[in-house]
């Protein structure tokens, strides 16, 4: 029940965001500062998810050491992503690195 409500809520907000401008058929537009601000939203949200997931992998405090497989694999993913600039390569190499570090440590 909670799950159904959650999914319904997610569906409503997602559709609402995508529809509101199209529904008004252009009678409504954003000021430039708001458009610029929206550009910052995806990297801000994604970073706020990645950093705790990688640095606090077990949910009890920051683990800034070489036994942390997520941290090492994330570094590999960043390097690969900066060099290859290809999403799929970044993911695949990152996951392989994570598997390797987990197995080694």
């Amino acid at each position: 029940m909670t799950e159904a409500l959650m999914i319904a809520g997610m569906a409503v907000v997602t559709f609402g965001i995508r529809y509101i401008v199209l529904a008004s058929a252009g009678h409504f537009s954003f000021p430039n500062w708001a458009k610029s601000g929206l550009n910052f939203v995806p990297p801000a949200v994604l970073t706020a998810i990645i950093i705790p997931a990688v640095l606090i992998p077990n949910g009890n405090g920051i683990e800034l050491h070489l036994q942390n497989a997520s941290l090492l694999a994330a570094c590999v993913a960043v390097v690969v992503g900066l060099i290859r600039k290809d999403l799929l390569t970044t993911i695949v190499v990152g996951m392989i690195a994570f598997g390797l570090f987990k197995w080694l440590l």
């Binding site: 995508r18 509101i20 997931a53 990688v54 799929l88 970044t90 990152g94 994570f98």
Partner: protein, 256 residues
């Protein structure tokens, strides 16, 4: 956008619109589908990983399929899984979905002039399917096409593009769920790191301006500082502060 002189032409094109033949419609649908194919291939692993991770994150198989059918927004579906796994309540998950998907406002604002001649139901269909991939495909096609094509065919091309993406996303979700049930030990393969790797790959291309780097630094530092806040509220606090810093930096550096 349209000048006075062009207006009569456009009206006659809208009339022609009703006379578009079945085979032309099919051609446009296929063209839209073909144009989206590279991105569909890219989405396959995400759909499968989403399906595989669902159950271990606490989302039922039916819930995962329903999410792909009704929400149809890849990154926010992944984030919902991450929040569910951390025991977050539905209201925070819905609020986070709202923030994460706000970027789609930009997409609809970018194409509204190109689809405002369409009926309400058509605009609703276009809105429902407006993912990153569908937007990239239709925006590229509109840029390379003339007004005549746009007024006549844009919705059919979009239908092919969106339908392919949508069908593939639902199918991959189901495949992922099935895989997760057939191979239960997959949950120990560290697939959850796939989410971090995916998000890292998505953030990197943004890091080409100083305001953007400031935004990401603030988001990262704040997310560690707020990690102990209840209900994962730290995510929203961090994201909003990071946007505020990035935007202020951007506006100040432009004023100089």
């Amino acid at each position: 956008m349209m000048s006075e002189a062009q207006a009569p032409d456009n009206c006659s094109m809208i009339d022609q619109n009703q006379n578009i033949s079945g085979s032309e419609i099919l051609q446009e649908i296929l063209a839209g589908s073909r144009a989206t194919l590279p991105m569909v291939v890219g989405a396959i692993p995400f759909g499968i990983i989403f399906g595989t991770l669902a159950e271990q994150s606490g989302l039922s198989p039916i819930g995962a399929i329903a999410m792909s059918i009704f929400v149809f927004a890849g990154s926010s579906q992944f984030i919902a899984l991450g929040l569910l796994a951390a025991g977050t309540g539905p209201l925070i998950i819905i609020a986070t979905t709202f923030i994460v998907n706000l970027r789609h406002l930009l997409y609809s604002a970018a194409i509204v002039d190109d689809v405002k001649h369409l009926s309400g139901p058509w605009r609703a269909i276009i809105a429902f399917g407006l993912t990153d991939e569908a937007f990239a495909t239709i925006a590229d096609k509109i840029r390379r096409s003339d007004d005549a094509w746009r007024l006549r065919s844009v919705q059919w091309f979009y239908l092919g593009s969106f339908g392919t993406m949508y069908g593939n996303w639902i199918l991959c979700t189901i495949i992922g769920i099935t895989l997760g049930e057939l191979v239960p030990e997959m949950s120990s393969w560290g697939l959850d790191f796939a989410m971090s790797a995916t998000f890292i790959g998505m953030v990197l291309p943004y890091l080409n301006t100083r305001p953007m780097m400031a935004c990401v630094l603030v988001a990262g530092a704040m997310s560690l500082g707020t990690a102990d806040m209840p209900h994962k509220l730290g995510l929203m606090v961090s994201a909003l502060s990071a946007v505020a810093v990035g935007l202020s930096y951007h506006l100040m550096s432009r004023r100089k």
